[in-house]
């Protein structure tokens, strides 16, 4: 039994199943982070005057700036990985996807140092609602980074076997994984100014 349109596009919708699936998933992710951003707003508006700290008075802006650059670069390498597959260059694909995973790793390492500095100074979620929402948002985002890295690592390693049997299907998978990775990147692009700069 074959499920239709796993690889080929359905003529009247112009899409394959996986593509719609990943966009729907991202829509639900928008609602997840949207709810958290809305909560941030409600916390901040509801805070007693003068009690809400400016992000840069607590958080490390230079480190976060480096992390922003790292994540944006990883989005570029992600696209290049997919484009390499389109150009039938599997070795380049491995290189660029490897770089994407590495960038995720660098991001998490920097985040780890940021977190441990906060813990070291007793800046915990229980201290105030700003830190609470900071840890919740960045923590959840960090989990998404780990998830994206896991999928990419699978596509880099064992999942790449599909390239030999069904290159188009494999390319679609990389594209979908890329869409998720861009979303993770995009969330950070919202997180960075909201938490660190405003």
């Amino acid at each position: 039994m074959e499920i239709p349109f796993t690889v080929a596009e359905r003529p009247d919708t112009g899409l394959n199943n996986g593509k719609i699936g990943i966009w729907l998933f991202l829509a639900s992710e928008v609602m997840l982070f949207g709810a958290l951003f809305a909560s941030y707003l409600m916390m901040r508006i509801g805070a007693a005057p003068g009690t809400w700290p400016r992000g840069d008075s607590i958080l490390n802006v230079p480190l976060a700036t480096v992390n922003t650059v790292v994540l944006i670069s990883s989005s570029v390498t992600m696209v290049m990985a997919w484009a390499s597959l389109k150009r039938n260059d599997f070795l380049k694909f491995r290189l660029f996807l490897g770089l994407t995973i590495l960038a995720g790793f660098v991001f998490l390492t920097i985040k780890f140092f940021e977190y441990s500095a906060k813990f070291h100074h007793g800046l915990l979620p229980s201290k105030n609602t700003f830190l609470a929402i900071y840890f919740t948002l960045t923590g959840l985002h960090g989990l998404h980074v780990i998830g994206g890295m896991a999928i990419n690592a699978y596509l880099w390693g064992p999942g790449a076997k599909l390239w030999k049997t069904d290159p188009e299907h494999f390319t679609n998978r990389v594209e979908n994984s890329g869409l998720f990775w861009h979303f993770v990147d995009l969330v950070w692009i919202f997180l960075f100014p909201v938490l660190y700069l405003l």
Binding site: I3, N17, L24, S28, L32, A35, A132, F135
Partner: protein, 592 residues
């Protein structure tokens, strides 16, 4: 007559098509076949419904006879729940919170969406399976884990969650360990519904059979599609809220903890600065669309059953579809009508009561269309039809009693009384549950190849209808008198409740009678699997695509890939040889 000839032609072939050796575990437990997963969902959902019903029957004992020891059974629950057989308030609260959680998230939705959606939707659109069979498998097992987590929470120190199914903060934040389990359980259930809803939408968009254009879709498919969008977009905010409540409970943050909170005469160990209303907003942002998740699949099922048993097309099919989408959209902008009492201000209240009045319009369109569908039909009073017919006035009562709750002035005296309980139980119990029973009787022959017994079905239906009204109708009386919900003694200690308190015994006896009325169903269900009357592919002489498949359909569903040649409800078309013209019948087949 080609319709009847197609049935025996399959017989020999589908034996062959179903012949795949997968082994017991892959075929029945970790199956990727949408039909097996649908049945798994349905059976698990029914078991949870039964369990949730048992919880409330215990509560009804306490409400009818406050403080009196429950004979025989009471001692089984142990000294920390029911010492000497009489219930502790903490245990009553656990039963109440878990009854709501189990019925909504682990009973009705998994049966209505996971069960019926999984089993029927791919068949009705002529697909071989869901678009993502492995994700479907993951969805069921995530639901299963969520269910196990919830059940296990009864056995942690302090027992299960006891802050109501709404888990309002700050009470839920300072509650015992059971609440943490509740939150983890919810995260599993949310994951499950996320995976399921993506699957349903992609399947409907992509896997429709050739010729099955959008307005040839059966109404059931539309209902499942809109439901899936609600699940997809409304659940994530609750997940966010759940994560924040976990942070409050485990990391000591103060998302939902206001400044200066005093618990049992002592300052609570929270820095404060949070907002308890934030929880309510996020919760109801899910939970109002959730109401439509409970009711829309029911409308879908009832529409199929009514069209089939009136032998008529649905009245206003297109209008129903438009109403459905409008309803789905509006359900995202009415949530704060649950919060008129929180002091959020008249501007907010005015906005939300306006949207609430607007959303009642498509609901009325749907119900009226179904009612008008009966007009001039030659109705077959089969068991599924009886349940579907009862759905109409029962949902009508549930819906109309909701209107005063949607207006902030009328809501203030009624808020948090038994009136509210009566209102939403009319929607969900004799409403949705009756529709789900209709669906079980209606699609049972497709799932098993055998019909359920009609006599036992009627023996199930009539007492259920009487008793369920006995349970919920007096709640309106008590609610008007001002009796609050969630009272451990059912109002016995309040003077103003004196005049209506005697109804508690009546309601409790009705509830236990309702339980007895389910016995014919249980017997019928199991007996019919083995001994029910054998039927062909299309026993109800229905028109939609699922009846083109063999009963039960093999792995991969259809013997030959079906094609749709016409709209979903071509019943009693003048000039046609039979009073039903299935979608899968081409013009030449139909003429021949």
């Amino acid at each position: 007559m080609a319709t009847l000839e197609t049935a025996p032609a399959h017989e020999a072939e589908h034996e062959h098509a179903g012949h795949e050796h997968l082994g017991f575990w892959r075929q029945y437990v970790f199956s990727t076949d949408h039909k097996v997963i649908g049945i798994q969902y349905a059976v698990t959902g029914l078991l949870f419904l039964f369990f949730g019903f048992c919880l409330v029957m215990l509560m009804r004992w306490q409400l009818a006879y406050p403080g009196r020891a429950l004979p025989w059974l009471g001692k089984l629950f142990g000294e920390d729940r029911m010492p000497g057989g009489s219930m502790l308030p903490e245990f009553y609260n656990q039963l109440g919170a878990m009854h709501g959680t189990i019925m909504v998230f682990m009973g009705v939705v998994p049966l209505a969406v996971g069960g019926f959606g999984n089993f029927v939707l791919p068949l009705q659109i002529g697909a071989p399976d869901m678009a993502f069979p492995k994700i479907n498998l993951a969805s069921y097992w995530s639901y299963f884990l969520g269910g196990v987590t919830m059940l296990a929470s009864f056995f942690v120190p302090g027992g299960a969650a006891q802050s109501g199914w709404t888990s309002y903060a700050p009470l839920s934040v300072i509650a015992g360990q059971g609440q943490t389990m509740w939150l983890f359980g919810m995260i599993f259930l949310i994951t499950s519904s996320l995976l399921g809803s993506i699957n349903f939408i992609v399947t409907t968009v992509q896997l429709r059979a050739p010729g099955l254009s959008w307005f040839r879709l059966p109404f059931f498919v539309w209902a499942q599609l809109v439901t899936s969008f609600l699940l997809l977009l409304a659940f994530p905010p609750l997940e966010a809220a759940g994560v924040m409540q976990l942070m409050d409970r485990l990391a000591g943050s103060s998302f939902f903890m206001p400044s200066g909170l005093v618990v049992s005469g002592q300052a609570a160990p929270y820095t404060g600065g949070g907002n308890p209303l934030l929880w309510q907003h996020l919760f109801w942002f899910l939970a109002h669309p959730e109401v439509y998740v409970l009711i829309l699949p029911a409308f879908g099922i009832v529409s199929e059953v009514i069209a089939n048993n009136t032998r008529k097309p649905l009245f206003g099919y297109k209008l129903m579809v438009y109403s459905l989408w409008f309803l789905g959209f509006m359900s995202f902008v009415v949530w704060a009508h649950h919060m008129f009492f929180t002091g959020m201000g008249t501007t907010m209240a005015a906005f939300f009561q306006t949207t609430t009045m607007i959303i009642s319009i498509p609901s009325v369109v749907l119900l009226s269309s179904l009612l008008l569908s009966l007009w001039g039909g030659s109705i077959r009073f089969t068991t599924p039809m009886l349940f579907a017919l009862a759905f109409l006035p029962m949902f009508g009562i549930g819906g109309l009693t909701g209107l005063p709750l949607g207006l902030s002035a009328a809501d203030i005296p009624l808020h948090d009384t038994y009136y509210v309980i009566g209102h939403f139980h009319y929607v969900v119990a004799p409403g949705t549950l009756f529709a789900l029973f209709a669906g079980i009787y209606y699609w049972f022959p497709k799932a098993t190849g055998r019909k359920m017994n009609e006599f036992l079905g009627k023996l199930h239906f009539w007492p259920s209808l009487v008793f369920i009204n006995g349970v919920f109708m007096p709640m309106f009386i008590q609610g008007f008198a001002g009796v609050s919900r969630r009272l451990y003694d059912g109002g016995a200690s309040y003077d103003f409740a004196k005049g209506v308190i005697h109804w508690n015994v009546f309601m409790s006896i009705s509830a236990w009678g309702l339980a007895l009325a389910q016995i014919p169903f249980i017997i019928n269900f199991f007996m019919s699997i083995r001994r029910g009357e054998k039927v062909g592919d299309n026993p109800w002489e229905a028109t939609t695509l699922e009846w083109a498949a063999p009963s039960p359909p093999p792995h991969g569903n259809f013997v030959t890939a079906p094609e749709a040649y016409r709209g979903p409800y071509e019943y009693s078309v003048p000039g046609h040889p039979t009073d039903f013209t299935p979608q899968f019948l081409s013009a030449t087949q139909q003429a021949g």
